[in-house]
């Protein structure tokens, strides 16, 4: 291997390691598995909602990370009903009508939480 080749390899390796280190900074961030909610956020839920969240996390992570629905800018439950119905109709979704209703129950809770958090941020002196 020539000097040029060695430095080229080193340069590539350095870039890879740098990006990996950048990625590892995420270790301290507050979120749960598959981009879901953290243990603290789940523990703060009313008991019934915790089960609904578990089902939401299990079913919705079949095709995508949980960040998609959790970060979606949807605050209207009619909109969520149409959205969940569309997801439910995807091939292999494994989301039955009952499952869909439980997913919606969690999303209703999540919408309220987000609205409350936004109101607190907006109303802070």
């Amino acid at each position: 291997m020539t000097t040029d080749q060695t430095s080229s390899s080193l340069g590539r390796g350095f870039g890879l390691v740098l990006l990996l280190l950048l990625g590892l900074t995420g270790c301290a961030t507050d979120f749960g598995r598959r981009g879901g909610l953290s243990d603290q956020q789940i523990a703060a839920m009313p008991p019934g909602v915790q089960e609904d969240y578990d089902l939401f996390a299990y079913k919705c992570s079949r095709c995508h990370t949980l960040s998609r629905p959790l970060k979606a800018q949807i605050t209207d439950m009619e909109h969520w009903r149409a959205y969940v119905a569309r997801m439910r109709r995807h091939a292999g979704s494994a989301i039955s009508e009952d499952d869909g209703n439980r997913v919606l129950r969690f999303l209703e809770y999540w919408v309220k939480q987000r609205k409350q958090a936004e109101a607190e941020e907006g109303g802070a002196p």
């Binding site: 291997m1 080749q5 390899s9 590539r12 870039g15 890879l16 990006l19 990996l20 950048l22 990625g23 590892l24 900074t25 995420g26 270790c27 961030t29 979120f31 749960g32 598995r33 598959r34 981009g35 879901g36 953290s38 578990d54 089902l55 299990y58 079949r62 095709c63 995508h64 990370t65 949980l66 960040s67 998609r68 959790l70 970060k71 979606a72 949807i74 009619e78 909109h79 149409a82 959205y83 569309r86 109709r89 995807h90 091939a91 292999g92 979704s93 494994a94 039955s96 009508e97 009952d98 499952d99």
Partner: protein, 384 residues
């Protein structure tokens, strides 16, 4: 005959529109906007200059999608992607849904085939690369292999009828049947030409006025809240040359099993592709034809992968995949009458922030006709 066919098609399309018009009741138009972006770096440390047989270096994939519900039964989806080919329309279709069991999809779409295409967006799968049977241009020696069996995303224009039926709360049956333009190639082709399917200079139209057909059936079982499984079979058939003499047929089977957080996926695909022998086959092909009716080759492949989130910020992946080609080859091809490639992939996703991940993976490539190589990937993917 063509007039009759057009009239039938028009009736098939018009009927659900009338049916839906009567049910176009109160739902304000809902819009969902979503997207993703991935930057991936591919390095081949075992070869000094890998450019002649790979796209090493950076590649970017970007996708934005808009879904609009006009009424509870009529919706439209448009998805624009940016990648190695520039901007492409991945989806532009309208869904006319009579019931969950009967939906008419019209326009430019991903015809239903297999399991992986459902999550082909880089934000929706953990590996940096696609499984070999679905690879689109990032495999090593892609030109010699002419890519994979069915490069994903497979995008085509046409009509798809699909639906889903639940039996109780535990069993889901999905189906899809479609008529589309089909894959393309030349009259003197030795294989499909995937570039023609995305080349505006050749127009995004059927090159031989003979539609291709296909479909998929999948059965999903939900065994309690924490276990479910889906098994599916898919198939498509069409003629790909302008003269309409050369056919392709692709079949596939897929299995997905989820135990709590552990996901297992496996698929098998097979493509039989007819080739043009020409007037001087001895000058064109490496091997002689004992039987001129056997003017085809077979390409099959598989992948099996397991994926598990070890912690909220670390997700692991192991994948074993491979591909094989059996049949005559051009005299200039480095492949033989039977060539194969196997790949072993070990990867991890480091979750930087909800919606943003660093993907890292190592792949060992074992070729029957080329030097074995190691590939390293490092990528960043975000979705919104």
């Amino acid at each position: 005959m063509k007039t009759l066919l057009r009239a039938t098609l028009a009736t098939v399309i018009a009927l659900p529109i009338f049916a839906l018009g009567a049910r176009a009741d109160a739902l304000e138009m809902e819009r969902n906007f979503a997207g993703s972006a991935q930057l991936d770096y591919l390095a081949v440390p075992t070869t000094v200059d890998a450019r002649p047989f790979s796209f090493d270096g950076f590649t970017t994939e970007l996708a934005v999608k808009l879904a609009v519900d006009f009424t509870p039964n009529i919706s439209a989806n448009v998805k624009i992607c940016y990648g190695c080919h520039g901007f492409e329309t991945d989806m532009a279709f309208v869904d006319l849904r009579v019931a969950d069991q009967l939906n008419f999809r019209i326009g430019r779409m991903n015809p239903a085939f297999g399991d992986f295409p459902l999550r082909h967006d880089p934000a929706n799968h953990r590996a940096n690369s696609k499984p070999l049977p679905y690879d689109m241009g990032r495999m090593l020696h892609r030109a010699e292999w002419n890519m994979s069996i069915l490069p994903s995303p497979y995008v085509d224009n046409g009509l798809e009828v699909n639906g889903t039926q639940w039996f109780g709360n535990d069993v889901q049956l999905d189906y899809a049947l479609y008529v589309v333009s089909g894959l393309k190639g030349n009259n003197d082709a030795l294989d499909l030409d995937f570039i023609q399917s995305r080349s505006g200079s050749l127009y995004y139209v059927d090159n031989n006025s003979r539609p291709a057909y296909g479909g998929r059936v999948a059965l999903t079982l939900a065994l309690g809240d924490r276990i479910n499984a889906t098994a599916g079979i898919s198939g498509t058939y069409g003629l790909y040359d302008p003269a309409g003499l050369l056919s392709y047929a692709i079949g596939g089977a897929d299995l997905y099993v989820r135990f709590d957080d552990l996901s297992l996926r496996a698929e098998y695909l097979l493509r039989r592709t007819e080739i043009s022998i020409g007037s001087n086959p001895e000058e064109r092909f490496r091997y002689g034809f004992e039987d001129l009716s056997k003017n085809f080759f077979v390409k099959d492949g598989f992948y099996a992968e397991v994926e598990y989130p070890f912690t909220p910020w670390l997700e692991g992946l192991f994948r074993f995949d491979g591909m094989r080609r059996i049949g005559n080859v051009a005299v200039t091809s480095p492949l033989r009458s039977e060539s194969a490639v196997l790949r072993y992939t070990l990867g991890a996703n480091v979750v930087v922030e909800r919606g943003m991940r660093v993907k890292v993976s190592g792949e060992f490539w074992d070729f029957s006709d080329f030097q074995d190589d190691l590939v390293l990937h490092l990528g960043v993917v975000a979705n919104f």
